[in-house]
């Protein structure tokens, strides 16, 4: 399991816990949790679900010549 995947799982669990905690906290804490945890939950969901290239494809992508801007 690579580093991004581990971080994503930690973020997913932490943000989900934050959202669940938000159901039982005072108003201002709930607002702060919603503003922070909802975007982080979507981010970690995206990082975990995005398709990954196979090993061969990965090499192709890296070795592709940089055409520059």
């Amino acid at each position: 399991m690579n580093k991004i995947k581990i971080i994503s799982y930690i973020l997913l669990v932490a943000s989900l816990l934050g959202i669940i905690c938000g159901f039982f906290t005072s108003e201002y804490v709930t607002l702060a949790l919603a503003i922070i945890c909802i975007p982080l939950f979507i981010l970690s969901f995206g990082l975990l679900n995005m398709a990954k290239p196979t090993k061969d494809e990965m090499e192709e992508r890296v070795q592709e010549p940089f055409t520059g801007y």
Binding site: I19, F23, E27, A34, I35, P39, G46, N49, A51, R61
Partner: protein, 287 residues
């Protein structure tokens, strides 16, 4: 009474689903006006979800932590918008602050990718920030007329005195200009003009693009919600739905039939409309 967190989550989901359908409708109207069949209305919604499962490339030239974080901040900004708007019906000044941060996000999303298209979009975001002045003028005029900037107080005011669009039509035109400037492919859209591909979003691929599209949908829904609530008052859910659909159709028609202006013309046109409408509104208020 519903739990606050549940209320926020439900409102964010409604804003995303309905906002993305409205953007799909906008695109469909544009296509039909230009005699093309266009994609189905639901396509924008499906695209937003689909990108979450696509391969994501991260450009070598990107400032990676910033490049990813800015997308999260963009979402956080509009979750705040939903909280201030439909959830709490709080102050319009915070909505103005959210638009200011929205501009900063456009600026930073463009600069973080390292792409020349993004960088040019980033410069134009600073330039077009002047076009946010009409929103500030609208807020000032609303305050002068009603004595409040609280959304729930504004709704109550309009329930007694009638919709503000009747007493402040020029302010409504000014706000509508802002709506046009935020719709896709509009004549004032210099940060995402076609000469910059998709501007600050050009180098955000895969799920990051889906994430940006999610937030764009929420932002579009919120903009229409604020306009309808500020100028039409207590119109109910059905009124809001019809109003949002009508505005999306009108902006779609405008986007389809008008060319994109160059940056200086875009900003000057918006500021000119703002000055004329502000002066006109003050004269109407004094009379």
């Amino acid at each position: 009474m519903m739990n606050l967190m549940a209320n926020i989550i439900i409102n964010v989901l409604i804003a995303f689903i309905f906002g993305s359908l409205l953007l799909g409708l906008h695109r469909k109207v544009m296509a039909r006006v230009q005699l093309r069949p266009g994609p189905p209305i639901i396509q924008y919604f499906i695209h937003s979800l689909k990108f979450f499962f696509k391969e994501t490339s991260f450009p070598d030239t990107a400032s990676l932590p910033f490049y990813v974080a800015i997308v999260v901040i963009f979402c956080g900004v509009w979750v705040t918008g939903v909280i201030v708007g439909p959830v709490l019906e709080s102050s319009l000044l915070i909505i103005f602050g959210i638009y200011a941060v929205h501009k900063i996000v456009e600026h930073n999303a463009g600069s973080s990718s390292g792409s020349p298209y993004g960088k040019l979009s980033c410069v134009r975001a600073v330039f077009s920030a002047a076009a946010e002045l009409p929103l500030f003028a609208v807020l000032a005029l609303i305050f002068l007329k009603t004595g409040t900037l609280n959304i729930s107080a504004l709704i109550s005011y309009q329930a007694v005195h009638g919709p503000l669009i009747l007493s402040m039509p020029l302010a409504a035109i000014m706000f509508f200009t802002l709506i046009i400037s935020k719709s896709p492919y509009n004549p004032f859209c210099i940060t995402k003009a076609k000469d910059l591909i998709t501007g600050f979003e050009t180098e955000h691929f895969g799920f990051l693009r889906g994430f940006l599209m999610f937030t764009d949908s929420v932002a579009w829904y919120m903009l229409l919600w604020v306009f309808l609530v500020c100028f039409f008052g207590p119109i109910g859910i059905l009124g809001l739905i019809i109003g949002m659909i009508v505005i999306s159709i009108i902006t779609g028609f405008i986007s389809a039939t008008t060319p994109m202006l160059n940056p200086n013309h875009s900003v000057m046109t918006q500021i000119s409309i703002a000055i004329i409408c502000t002066v006109g509104s003050i004269i109407i208020l004094l009379i």
